[in-house]
């Protein structure tokens, strides 16, 4: 039954991925004129000679004189074998440019998700069990501010405090020594030492909203008769809360994590830009500003896929936790 559900859910993700690719391609073709006119204009601007033969070759390759659907088909069949087209600005195949950046984006998103979960779960329980205590008020206060402050503002303020009061630079994901170095365990350790700052910044608002959800869910459960019964039977308070009400309250909590994932990826774009992280965000932005549409399209497509997969994972988790979902 569970397997059937997971299978069905994965099948559902396919049309979503297809739609995401259509949207990404629509964005690629959205700017006025085709990309080659933009390309030629950029070349001419920088004083390069526009090689007509090369333009024609590119036009031929992407079928720019063909209708939208044909162009889309050519593009997507390339994507499926890992060919995302050529970046005009970098003069390199897109797949070479995005590989490591996407990997770091995924790492960042998952690290943030783990952080959010690890923090929101105990704090949410605490804040519901000790309702209206000083701790609860503090948590609620921080939560409201976390929800109201845009990610990038938190990043900016943090950077300001670090530079002005501590003289430290918190931007980037690697120390200078490791920026260009090949991957090694020492580099991974260096990454982990830098990762926590963007993780906290990114996780703040989703943690805040998850705490509120967990608190509200648990508050609904705590006053139900079965809790009183269990308490009357002499179950220890910790065991009692963790075993019954928390398990019921967890359900909406897990389903919210599915929505939190696209939100995280979205927020990561801006925060990464402010902190100049070597993830996909800054390069995406640069590509969009330069109208380097193949590069931008590849990023948008991959970020969308990432968040659809994130939702898929959380739906499967939800089915594992709550048996009722599988039968729907």
């Amino acid at each position: 039954m569970l397997l059937a559900y997971i299978l069905r859910r994965i099948l559902w993700a396919i049309p979503f991925l297809f739609a995401a690719s259509l949207i990404a391609f629509a964005l690629i073709s959205a700017p006025p004129g085709d990309y080659l006119t933009t390309f030629a204009a950029t070349l001419a601007q920088s004083g390069d000679v526009v090689d007509q033969a090369r333009l024609d070759a590119l036009r031929e390759r992407y079928g720019l004189d063909q209708p939208f659907l044909v162009q889309y088909f050519r593009w997507i069949s390339g994507v499926l074998v890992g060919d995302f087209g050529v970046s005009f600005e970098w003069q390199q195949p897109v797949s070479q440019l995005i590989g490591e950046r996407m990997a770091l984006s995924v790492t960042l998103a998952f690290a943030t998700l783990l952080f959010t979960w690890a923090l929101a779960f105990p704090i949410g329980i605490y804040s519901a069990v000790k309702k209206y205590s000083v701790g609860d008020y503090i948590v609620t206060g921080i939560g409201f501010i976390g929800l109201a402050t845009p990610n990038f503002l938190v990043a900016l303020v943090l950077m300001y405090v670090a530079v002005v009061y501590f003289g430290a630079d918190v931007s980037g994901l690697f120390s200078d020594a490791y920026k260009q170095a090949p991957w090694s365990w020492a580099k991974v350790a260096d990454l982990l030492a830098h990762l926590w700052i963007p993780v906290i910044i990114l996780g703040l608002s989703s943690t805040a909203s998850l705490i509120r959800i967990m608190r509200a869910n648990l508050l609904d459960e705590l006053h139900k008769p079965y809790v009183t019964t269990a308490r009357a039977k002499g179950l220890s308070e910790f065991h009692l809360i963790m075993k019954y009400p928390v398990r019921l309250a967890l359900n909406p909590f897990v389903s919210t994590i599915g929505w939190a994932f696209p939100h995280l990826i979205s927020g990561a774009v801006i925060t990464a830009f402010v902190l100049s992280l070597p993830t996909s965000g800054p390069l995406l932005l640069q590509a969009l500003l330069a109208q380097d549409m193949y590069l931008a399209g590849a990023f948008i497509l991959l970020l969308c896929c990432l968040s659809i997969i994130g939702m898929l994972v959380s739906d499967i988790l939800l089915a594992l936790i709550d048996p009722r979902i599988r039968y729907r």
């Binding site: 979503f16 845009p150 303020v157 530079v163 939100h263 979205s266 969009l288």
Partner: protein, 379 residues
């Protein structure tokens, strides 16, 4: 002789009945945070509406000698050299001084010179709402031509306070207009989906799910990057609003659909249908009034999302662009660490964003609780 009572006169007066709106108002008034939020939100919209009058200066007037001028305190008690004092609104002037070694410009207070400030004084001339020519400002320097900076100045020596006040108009209105657009989309699609159910419902729900599962900021960025660079500020403003509402309608559609599904089988709706009411009449006469309060709450909660989105887009340079002034455009100035280390007051528009979002959230939460008759009265 007993007086006969005409039963038609036995109506309760309006004061004795509590309509649903009245009940909501009573519940809402008890919610202190929400009331505070409501007052702040109204104030912000007021500031937005009368931006030209409330701002002391023209937001685009630059002053080359006041680059990164620090904020000045508004003082009331004016003590002159003889020790006499009077109540006069003024600020202490500041003088630019160049450090001999680092060549860094620093502003030091200059107690000898004062800039007097008058209420409703004449300042830069402007046209209120582009129509009424005026030159009075709420506060203006008493001597024309003088300048003061209550929230500091930016890299071109423009008054931050005036810029933030003008930004309020754009940022707060983009939320309002964007939400009205998404409300239209949400009402139509959510309504159709909830009222008819079946296949249509299924299709709309899948679209909503798809949009919710996509990361919004990359999409917004992509869409706004596709806007032609040659568009006028006004065209761009509306285009950005449309882009924001293309994503934001989903949440409203969900609320509307949920309410429609819940109401569809209520007795009064079935009764209306059996009485032969047309679909339009049933929706607008019978279902709408009981959905209104929920929709208003959902709309209030959608505005801050829009404001944050606009701020983020403009901050990245893909949303609104100068000469348009919005909080996001202003925050773009605070992008590099060197300028904020030198002029921390460039963060001030960020405080405005937080204040607006926070109070709109409180207001929306309060409205939602007040509109829900089943909410536990445990506040």
């Amino acid at each position: 002789m007993t007086a006969t009572v005409d039963p038609r006169l036995l109506t309760t007066s309006v004061d004795d009945q509590a309509s649903q709106w009245r009940l909501i108002w009573i519940a809402f008034r008890r919610h202190r945070l929400a009331m505070t939020g409501a007052i702040i939100v109204l104030t912000l919209y007021f500031i937005g509406a009368f931006a030209e009058f409330l701002a002391p200066f023209d937001p685009n007037a630059s002053s080359s000698k006041d680059i990164y001028h620090p904020p000045q305190m508004l003082r009331l008690i004016d003590v002159d050299a003889n020790g006499d004092w009077a109540l006069r609104l003024h600020v202490e002037s500041m003088r630019a001084q160049r450090d001999k070694f680092t060549l860094e410009t620093k502003f030091v207070p200059d107690p000898s010179a004062k800039v007097y400030v008058s209420f409703f004084g004449k300042g830069d001339s402007y046209k209120l709402w582009g129509l009424i020519p005026m030159e009075r400002h709420l506060i203006a320097p008493a001597k024309p031509g003088e300048r003061f900076y209550l929230l500091g100045a930016d890299r071109l020596g423009r008054d931050m306070l005036s810029r933030i006040i003008h930004g309020t108009r754009v940022s707060m209105s983009i939320g309002l207009i964007g939400v009205s657009l998404s409300l239209m989309l949400g009402l139509i699609l959510g309504g159709i989906s909830g009222y008819y159910g079946g296949l249509i419902d299924m299709a709309v729900q899948r679209v909503v799910e798809l949009i919710l599962s996509l990361p919004t900021i990359p999409l917004w960025l992509g869409l706004s990057a596709a806007l032609p660079q040659t568009w006028s500020p006004l065209q761009r403003y509306f285009a950005i609003t449309v882009i924001l509402s293309l994503v934001a309608w989903t949440e409203l559609a969900r609320v509307v659909r949920g309410r429609f599904l819940a109401l569809r089988n209520e007795d009064f709706v079935i009764a209306a249908r059996l009485d032969g009411g047309s679909t339009r009449r049933i929706i607008f006469r019978h279902m709408m009034p009981s959905m209104m309060s929920h929709i208003i709450a959902a709309v209030t909660l959608a505005i801050p999302v829009m404001i944050i989105a606009e701020t983020s887009l403009s901050f990245l340079g893909l949303g609104l662009m100068p000469p348009t002034i919005s909080w996001g455009v202003l925050l773009k100035e605070a992008q590099n660490i060197r300028s904020i280390a030198q002029a921390p007051w460039l963060f001030a528009p960020g405080a405005a964003v937080c204040l607006a979002v926070l109070s709109l959230n409180f207001l929306g939460d309060g409205l939602r609780d007040a509109a829900d008759p089943y909410v536990q009265d445990s506040r």
